[in-house]
């Protein structure tokens, strides 16, 4: 099945959900889903269309919004589809899919740990990689690292100038671009 066929079948299953098929210049097309309907869409994809394997769940910081990317595969039909959902920058909340796919448990903890995306009804939403008492979410574009952690300084004081020359700091974007494929 191509992404277009999967999208058509999904629209037949859930005609009231405002899904969109987004074409991409490179790679396959993907489906954009409103955050409130993500659980219904993934349930339908898993139960009706045979997408029984969640290959990857990633959080993304698009600067103007957060995104959650679900890469689903069907082991029987040998097809795959990408589902994305965009969340607001101020309140990034989305329903957890760990009840549908058990593997989403740790994926969602990772997205919460590094980007601060809240997954509702997850049940065990703790940090998975950073220490429990870490402040902030390090993969956010506007993240500023602390000066020290438990008395360990964050940078070598003698290497600032050389570092800035070798690896220039990322400039803050005034008008972040809209997410594109």
């Amino acid at each position: 099945m191509t992404p277009d066929e999967i999208f058509a079948a999904l629209q037949q299953q859930l005609p009231d959900v405002g899904c969109e098929l987004q074409k991409s210049q490179v790679g396959d097309a993907w489906i954009l889903v409103p955050p409130k309907d993500i659980l219904r869409v993934l349930t339908s994809l898993r139960d009706e269309l045979g997408m029984n394997y969640l290959a990857c769940l990633s959080g993304v910081d698009y600067e103007s919004s957060f995104g959650v990317v679900y890469q689903l595969r069907s082991l029987a039909k040998k097809t795959e589809i990408t589902v994305k959902s965009l969340l607001s920058k101020e309140n990034p909340v989305i329903e957890s899919v760990s009840g549908l796919y058990a593997v989403a448990d740790w994926f969602e903890r990772e997205a919460f740990d590094l980007l601060g995306i809240q997954f509702e009804n997850h049940g065990d939403l703790r940090r998975i990689m950073m220490p429990d008492d870490w402040i902030g979410h390090p993969l956010r574009k506007d993240y500023q690292p602390p000066d020290e952690y438990h008395g360990i300084p964050f940078e070598r004081p003698d290497s600032h100038a050389l570092l800035d020359e070798l690896f220039p700091r990322r400039e803050v974007v005034e008008n972040p671009p809209e997410p594109t494929a």
């Binding site: 950073m130 220490p131 690292p145 438990h150 360990i152 940078e155 700091r169």
Partner: protein, 168 residues
């Protein structure tokens, strides 16, 4: 050395420092602490080509039996506390070898949010070994450097000073 006949048996006059340092440098048991690709080179160094056994170096899995903390690889802030805990559990005299760029200064991960910019921020380091990762020959050289350093130690004096400090 001159041998004297002191009646019953033989006695060898020597320096206490030499007597303490010689067995220590030739039985340098190292604690395995391999967190990244440097660990692969560390295993290779223990293999037959460079063969650390001929220097009396044997790896230990417990800090309480180790003389040398061999930090091979990048250490994160979360792991740094474990490094400090292991170092504190090791008995004196103890030495630290920072193997590879990451352990020396953070290496590639200079702008990283999670990697400690050198384990000398956490434990005192005796020898820094550059390389990404260093070849087994380089690690061999660094371990011989540590042996040479042990030869110059004055442990008898240091223990005396320590006991004086403790007495106060």
């Amino acid at each position: 050395m001159v041998e004297y006949d002191w009646g019953e048996g033989l006695a060898i006059p020597t320096k206490v420092d030499w007597l303490l340092n010689w067995p220590r440098k030739n039985s340098l048991w190292y604690l395995l602490f391999a967190t990244a690709c440097c660990g692969i080179e560390l295993m290779q160094t223990g293999g037959p080509r460079t063969d650390l056994d001929r220097f009396g170096m044997v790896f230990r899995a417990s800090p309480r039996q180790a003389d040398l903390l061999l930090v091979a690889g990048a250490v994160t802030y979360k792991m740094a506390e474990a490094v400090r805990k292991l170092y504190d559990q090791m008995p004196e005299p103890k030495y630290v070898l920072a193997m590879g760029s990451c352990a020396n200064c953070g290496g590639l991960f200079q702008r990283s949010y999670s990697v400690v910019k050198g384990i000398d921020k956490v434990v005192p380091v005796d020898v820094y070994l550059p390389g990404c990762p260093p070849r087994p020959e380089a690690l061999n050289e660094a371990l011989i450097t540590i042996q040479k350093r042990i030869e110059k130690d004055h442990w008898a004096q240091r223990m005396k000073t320590d006991s004086e400090v403790l007495a106060q």
